[in-house]
């Protein structure tokens, strides 16, 4: 048990601030933004402090209200979730900083409520990551999802309907998860994850445990938008306002992937998920089809934001494939890809948001020669695109490398082929955009018919700085990925893999 109060600060500060913001908003509207940034900074700082502590001392436990587990709720920090917590809090801080100009442009009257919901969403996501209690995880899952539904519904034309569909899917997913918790509670009488992991191995041949496992996996698959149940994602993320989609898109699916790792490898042992039931094999086949379908459907899109949404479906497939391979390199790849994909998706969605708000277009054929107007934005777009394709030294290369190694270790040659083919698909996807932007003939512009003027019209500074930081992060974390693996990720791999 730890005595420092960082573990609780991660959650409580954004939660309390989110309730404070509407009150402050009645009084002084412009205080809301600095208040939100302050809250996000505190939770980022505490999560970094915890990661440092975890690296030095190993797993931390924090007992809420001094109730010992398994009766009380505990927050557990091991290498896996301290790492994911840092990713979530840092990215939400960067997106939070950048949200200001987009919010003022798109819906300035609702800004107060936007900041409130934004913080609630971050609270939910961080809570999912830090909690060590299966039912507590359900509560945070619903906090994050409910905030997500409302945030998405703020958006443009089709947003309420897309958000309604998302809500139907999300509720089914959460209810399945809850049913799974119920089944496990019947057989073990416990809700604490560590306690469950201790009690369950003797019960692995019970049908109830199998049912619980199936409900867990299907529920989480809906939440993380794995291929056959991804239907809600493209609509919801396309119509969401750009400040929202750049927060929700990188983080929600990644946190879902984290929950899948938790369930498959912490609550249940790797030998259960791999050998007793063929869950890992089924998951990897499903995710291979997710990668292929995501890429192919993305090729068919002309709307840039919608294309990114389908790329995201494919990226979720990568992470799930790494989880499903169920060997050391595959899981390293999956955890590394959680980090990398969060960075890449955040920066890509930010770029698309900036492009949409500056030009009013989203169709990729309308972006001809836009690099003359926004050189830095497009440079960042190219860096993130190269990272998604998987070109060294960007970080996307390294996680794909480990996924490939995992597939080769498992002698799964079909998955090797899928991974390589998907890189090809991504290359086609993004080079198509890059070609249209940089290399299309500029006659139209000279006639004044093109959308782009001659003058430089860069994104506002509050968006530009987070974008540059994200792009630098993509390059730096790519170079440093060996160090990240040796200090953090290799300890996050469960025993028995």
């Amino acid at each position: 048990m730890t005595t420092s109060s960082y573990p609780i600060l991660i959650i409580v500060v954004p939660l309390m601030t989110s309730f404070l913001i509407p009150l402050v908003g009645w009084w002084r509207k412009h205080f809301c933004y600095p208040l939100m940034i302050a809250a996000l900074s505190i939770s980022t700082f505490s999560s970094v402090a915890i990661l440092k502590e975890v690296i030095e001392q190993g797993t931390l436990h924090y007992y809420l209200g001094n109730w010992d587990p398994p009766w009380g709720i505990e927050y557990v920090f091991d290498h896996l979730n301290a790492f994911v917590a840092v990713i979530v809090s840092v990215i939400s801080l960067l997106i939070g900083i950048s949200s200001k100009s987009m919010v003022e442009k798109e819906f300035s009257q609702k800004a107060t409520y936007f900041y409130c919901l934004f913080l609630l969403q971050v609270t939910g996501l961080l809570g999912i990551v830090v909690t060590g209690d299966a039912f507590n995880l359900y509560v945070f899952l619903e906090i994050a999802s409910l905030a997500g539904y409302t945030l998405i519904a703020i958006g443009e034309d089709g947003a309420p309907f897309a958000s309604f569909n998302y809500m139907l899917y999300g509720t089914v997913g959460a209810c399945f998860y809850l049913l799974g918790v119920g089944y496990l509670y019947i057989v073990t009488g416990s809700l604490n994850m560590a306690d469950l992991a201790r009690l369950l191995p003797g019960l692995y041949h019970s049908k109830v445990v199998l049912m619980a496992f199936a409900f867990f996996i299907v529920g989480v698959a809906i939440k993380m938008a794995l291929f056959p149940v991804h239907v809600w994602l493209p609509d919801a993320y396309t119509y969401a306002p750009s400040a929202v989609s750049s927060l929700v898109a990188p983080l929600t699916t990644k946190v879902g992937a984290y929950v899948a790792i938790r369930i498959m490898y912490t609550i249940f042992t790797p030998s259960f998920t791999r050998d007793l039931v063929p869950a890992a094999t089924i998951l990897s086949w499903i995710s291979a089809s997710a990668i292929l379908f995501g890429c192919i459907l993305a090729l068919a899109q002309t709307d840039l934001k919608r294309m990114l949404a389908y790329v995201l479906v494919a990226e979720v497939g990568y992470i799930a494939l790494g989880i499903g391979l169920a060997n050391k390199n595959g899981l390293i790849g999956a955890i590394l890809h959680i980090q990398n994909d969060a960075l890449m998706m955040a920066s890509l969605f930010l770029v698309v948001g900036v492009l949409a708000s500056k030009t009013g277009f989203r169709n990729i054929y309308q972006f001809k020669n836009i690099h003359k107007k926004m050189p830095i934005t497009m440079a960042i777009f190219v860096v993130s695109a190269l990272s998604i394709i998987g070109i060294p030294p960007t970080c996307g290369f390294f996680s794909k490398w480990y996924l490939l190694l995992g597939a080769i270790d498992g002698h799964q040659w079909f998955f090797v082929a899928v991974l390589l083919a998907s890189s090809l698909f991504n290359a086609i996807l993004f080079f198509r955009v890059i070609e249209i932007v940089y290399f299309s003939p500029s006659e139209e512009c000279e006639h004044g018919a093109g959308p782009v003027g001659k003058s430089l019209d860069e994104a506002p500074l509050s968006v530009l700085i987070p974008m540059i930081l994200l792009a630098l992060g993509i390059l730096l974390l790519g170079v440093l990925s060996g160090k990240i693996i040796s200090t953090i990720i290799q300890f996050a791999i469960p025993k028995g893999l």
Binding site: A153, T171, L178
Partner: protein, 106 residues
Amino acid sequence: MMIGFYAMIGKKNLVKKVIGMNIFQTSIILYFISIGSKKGATIPVVAHGHAGPLQATQYINPIPHVLMLTAIVVMVSTFGVAMALIIMIYRKYHTIEEDEILKLRR
């Protein structure tokens, strides 16, 4: 639970879908509450001045009930969000039939 699930998938009317969602969630809540019950047991309130060790079999397990209090809160807020979304959809399209909305959006 299956009735609710059918309503969410099969019905075209958005309000009926939400009702289906509610039936779905309520069934899970009832399922949890049924977990806690024991034959011949009483409410889990220890009488004042109770002496001697407690017999766990004499009391209903209160934990599922407490969990479901939280789940009810979640369910109510989901319902609220759903209704707000339906109002937004109605203002925009003047209908809450799914197929008509899909036709309008084409």
